[in-house]
Symmetry: C2
Subunit: 365 residues, 2 copies
């Protein structure tokens, strides 16, 4: 059986004032009519039953997650008492799925990326599943063909084609974290590098096996959690055990050492994605995702522009944001706060949020 694990534990301030501590990016409706989290669930809805969906999120976001995905059973929303990066997150979900279905195959995906069209997402995942069918101990990553020399993404170097390599699957030769611009240009020119989408397909049993080998502290923690839950209850046990696990990403903690070992059939593979992908990293990303009008503006909600160029302007359906003579700014209106910041300065919002924190404006954080 195929299961979907949506990693929705992210936090962050890059979408302030829409994103807040209580409502990070994955819960926002940045493109289209649905939040990124709801889109992540919806894009699998026709081919993965709801009962097979799991969301791993921070305990603080339990209510918002249930509100956005009311069809999910309460016990299918796994609540991390604190963030521990992706390895414990995936381990936790894999364990919960594996204990009920030892043959489960798991599609793991971040909650906060934009993927279009949904049909191509499914087609790509099907190719990964085909590979797993033939090589059950494979760990498969979806790779995104790079369209520009991005310095903010992780890259995957493709090696030789997988032996069961239909759909362009290759072995992963190496992982390269955020490169310099020069290196990124070389990657792009070389043609054998793809972006790491953070989307994985593998058997739940294989995930646990790999954690046991490469991250025994996490595996032991999961075992202790299982035992402790029987005597103390799940919630108390999780609160006790989860924070003790090392905070490490699945890429760095498991897949990189596994790929480096270069063993023939139980290694790491990459399947090229045929869908459009964007991680929507900041307000600045919206023009690329939503397009621009003739003046280079990307606007949503009720807005009115005069002599306004290259701006990202967001409002609600009932509040009018009128701009005159503004160039290359981000303007975001929400019910209780409005941001006006230069589009080019990605650090601006971080500075602002730090200042709000310093001033004790808690309710805006």
């Amino acid at each position: 059986m195929l299961y979907l694990v949506i990693m929705a534990g992210g936090s962050g301030t890059r979408f302030w004032p829409e994103s807040r501590r209580a409502r990070p990016k994955q819960f926002l409706t940045l493109a289209g009519e649905r939040s990124l989290l709801v889109q992540a669930a919806d894009r699998c809805r026709t081919w993965i039953p709801t009962a097979n969906m799991r969301v791993v999120t921070n305990a603080a976001h339990a209510a918002e997650t249930s509100r956005q995905l009311p069809e999910l059973a309460r016990e299918h929303i796994l609540l991390e008492p604190c963030g521990r990066n992706t390895a414990p997150c995936i381990g936790l979900a894999a364990w919960q799925i594996w204990r009920n279905d030892p043959d489960a195959v798991v599609l793991v995906t971040p909650a906060d990326h934009l993927i279009r069209p949904e049909s191509e997402f499914r087609a790509t995942v099907e190719r990964a599943l085909g590979l797993i069918d033939r090589q059950p101990r494979a760990s498969v990553l979806l790779g995104i063909e790079p369209s520009y020399p991005a310095t903010g993404y992780g890259y995957i170097e493709r090696g030789e084609p997988a032996s069961a390599g239909e759909g362009g699957a290759s072995r992963v030769r190496s992982f390269r974290e955020k490169p310099t611009l020069e290196t990124a240009r070389r990657f792009l020119a070389g043609g054998n590098f793809v972006w790491n989408s953070g989307i994985f397909v593998w058997r739940a049993a294989r995930i646990l096996e790999l954690l046991k080998e490469f991250q025994p502290a996490i595996y032991d923690g999961l075992e202790r959690l299982e035992r402790s839950a029987q005597s103390h209850g799940w919630e108390a046990a999780l609160k006790d055990e989860f924070p003790r696990m090392p905070s490490i990403s699945i890429d760095y903690g498991v897949l990189e050492p596994l790929a480096a070992r270069n063993s023939p059939d139980d290694g790491v593979f990459v399947v090229p994605a045929s869908f459009e992908w964007d991680d929507v990293g900041s307000w600045q990303a919206l023009p690329g995702v939503l397009g621009t009008d003739d003046e280079g503006n990307t606007s949503s909600g009720m807005t009115c522009q005069i002599d306004t160029k290259g701006c990202v302007i967001r409002s609600t359906a009932s509040h009018l944001v009128a701009t005159i003579g503004l160039t290359d700014f981000v303007v975001v209106h929400t019910a209780d706060a409005t941001l006006i910041a230069p589009k080019g300065d990605e650090s601006a919002i971080r500075k602002l949020v730090a200042l709000l924190e310093e001033r004790g404006y808690e309710r805006f954080l």
Copy 2:
């Protein structure tokens, strides 16, 4: 007895989005805690009884006027069915006051100027009243010592000192409407020009006498209104008669020809004001009125600035407006609309409001 007539019929869009058709400038709280209209009433409250106060406003603003000045009797708020400039407005109020008190002296003032301190306003009016005491047929204007060569104001040229000229009162030699910058500089250098504050002191009976002489159509209209009200009721009569009066200012229609006649005792006089005066013509005027912080910003409500200079930023107590990297802009947040416009472009808001009208955004007008 002294009466106060507050002319609150103004409309206009220069303070959009705070000002709307239903709530023009005089009803806004631009400086301090009270609206300009309330300030206009309050500055006379200790020395003119409430029963002697009249507000002339547009019928559309009846409710807002009563809300802001609940102590005013309903019949003391005179409702113009349409705007007809200041001559019919003052005529209407003068007639209503005169018919009950033929000896009434009337202080006429616009509702939408900022005047500080209140004590000096009273002192200046007292000097004007002293002149009227000695020369009952005088029409007295308050003049403002110009502080810069303004091109947006009307100027009054001072002639010889009034024969009962204590307090610096002079005869008015001429009126000069909005001059060119060069002329304004000459006025300023010459020293015998003051700004026309639009504040007048004269006997109600004298106002009517002057209207009868210089604007007989208005005087006749007032007489017809009186008769018609007796048979058809005040409201119906006003709706019928008022729109037929010529739309003309008291300055142009009465005081200019009166001053030109240069008769000794029943002419036009100007008393120099000892108070600070600002007509707060646009958002751009706020820094001059409210002052600026170290970065040259004038802000009110909940705001937070980073690298923000020379801006006017207005929000409410509960909505945070955060600006980064903004220079010389006006940012105004209200419950249903937010404006971001260059501070230097006084025509920007007019263009915007025209565009909103064109697009049928009625509820924002």
